[in-house]
Amino acid sequence: MSAPWPIWVLFGAPVAALLVGYFYCHQRCPERTHWPILASCAATALAALWLAFQVYEGAGWDFIVYRWAAIGGFTVDFGVRLDGLSASVLAMVCVVSGLIHIYAVGYMEGEPGTSRFFLYFHLFFLSMLGLLVSNNYLQTYVFWEGVGLASFLLIGFWYPKESARRASWKAFLTNRVGDIGFILAIFLLLREAGSVRFEEVFARLGNITPGMRMTIGLLLFWGAAAKSAQFPLHVWLPDAMEGPTPVSALMHAATMVTAGVFLMARSMPLLESAPPVLAVITVAGLITAIGAAIVSVSKRDLKRILAYSTVSQLGLMMVAIGTGNLVGAVFHLITHGFFKALLFLCAGSVIHGLHSSLHGAVSAGVDDAGGLGRDLPYTGGAFLVGALALSGVPPLAGFFSKDLILEGALESGHGLAALTFLIALGSSLYIFRMLLLTFFGARAQQRGPKAHAHEPGLLMRVPVLILAVLSASAGVFGGTVARMLGFQPPHFVLGVAVSGTLVAAAGFGVAYFLTMSRPSFDWEWRARFPWLERWLECDFGWQKATDAIAGGGAALAHFVAGAWESRRWDPFTESLATGCVQLGEGLSAVCRGRLNEYVWWMFVGAAALAFTVLLCF
């Protein structure tokens, strides 16, 4: 079946917008760069929704666009594959990024270099699209690194700041470490299955040895762990908050970080054929989720709390993947995209509102933003909706998706179920703590300066409103997502639903107790247990470990380049040359200028020559 034209809109619109944006707007009228980009956002969003509807109706596409490279055992063609998984996630990504683009226009007003910002922003959007609709692993890898590059450029958008530069560099390097796993998996696939196309790989799973399947699965998870900030490689996400808030909202909450989960969902058949990999994913997901939840509770910076919350939620999705619950993972991915983006945008509005008093700081702490409920009622309300969705309070979206994951966990084991409930508790605890401290905490208790915050402009409020509506109503799409993925609509187990809500309520209660009834608790435990704070501050010491590894790498480079190359190996080869020169000088001492000696040496030479000639013949 030939490709419907909206698919070409998916790719054509962003590319056209980028070209027009850079060559026309950026050069001549920088302040209007976002116009072509917003137009392309709208077009792609419509196309994505239409395609999602088609796929819901049962359509599906998997065709090759052009042959990228083919020689010997290496045949790679770039193509498009739209099935239930990619269509649903694509719809979410396009809607959310469209809204965030609009929000960014309001947020970045007056900032220097906004046209450059929008170009990078849309480059990210294009790479994300490419990643979602690709039909083979290598094309996914190409856009995977494209997304990494965009995150490098956007985190380091305010490049005069040293911390922003370090954060962007750290993000790119960690992603690159992950990408090694991904590219190695691709090489193994090329070697074992002879092709990287999803269809052919899953068809030929039979003739790949179990051991090799396991390694490929683990390597793919290693790549996904870097992108989705899972346990060993999550270190870059908290620092990624250095970027502007729309960047954090779009990339480090809703879309980019979910690419890892998307890859896992995409290669589900491969993972299911290697059960140990699923166990590893579950364990890693659990560790990440629980660890991030604990750390998030201790954080004070608005965006850092949300960052760790994202890491925790991604851990939860990985747990869903690990338990083989594809529908739960994908649906949670979609709902998470909505409410996490909403939470970040609200945090952005708060920071934007406090901008005057933050004297240029990029992000605000809970202390600076304490008790803003009265100043920012609208944002407060939206944040409340987001918080309820995240913690899984019915009838909002979070409840439905988290419930699916809880059911999946319950089926695969009580211990696992207990841990997932713990994660749910943690998530409601840290989000309500942030809500209460930021919006409802009494101003007096907060030690922050008396800040006067103002509601953001209309351009920022409309996307927040739409996202709030979506976060509230996305629960109904559970059935559609399941059908698109080819599963029966989920049936709700009453017991799990009730216990989920109770856990959310418990979380709220503890948060209320810690922040409202004993407001000074936040500072007391830091004073009494300084070691605990330091320990939590650097992710149980893992941040230090990764920095040490990076430092070790740099030291190795300096050793190799300095001590070995320029002080031992180079002088050694040059000493060979100077050695010859000395040899020459030594020999020249023989000619002391006496004529007779020269003649004597001539005789000796002639005699020796004659002798050798006689000897040889």
Binding site: C591, R594, L595, N596, V599
Partner: protein, 100 residues
């Protein structure tokens, strides 16, 4: 009577004595004498071989060698005399330019 061995012997000794002149004697003119001796030794052997084989080319060569030796002697002596005329000693040690 194999005069061959004898003539070879004579020319060999003559050659060596010429060589001794060159290597051991200090004066430049002695070296020239040495060279003359060596050329003669070679010529003697050459002519002897040419005569035994009845090969005219050898004789012709010997003749040319004599001519060449003459030219060489002239130039050699002239160089030495020019050097002596400039007030230098005829010692070989005075020629130091080539020392390493």
């Amino acid at each position: 009577m194999d005069s061959g061995l004898l003539v070879w012997g004579v020319s060999g000794v003559l050659f060596l004595v010429g060589g001794a002149f060159l290597v051991l004697r200090r004066q430049l003119i002695a070296m020239i004498i040495g060279v003359e001796l060596m050329i003669n030794a070679a010529n003697l052997a050459l002519v002897h071989a040419a005569v035994r084989r009845g090969d005219a080319e050898g004789l012709a060569a010997a003749l040319l060698i004599i001519a060449a030796a003459a030219a060489e002697a002239v130039v050699g002596l002239w160089l030495v005399l020019r050097r002596l005329r400039d007030g230098e000693t005829a010692e070989t040690d005075s020629l130091r330019e080539l020392s390493g």
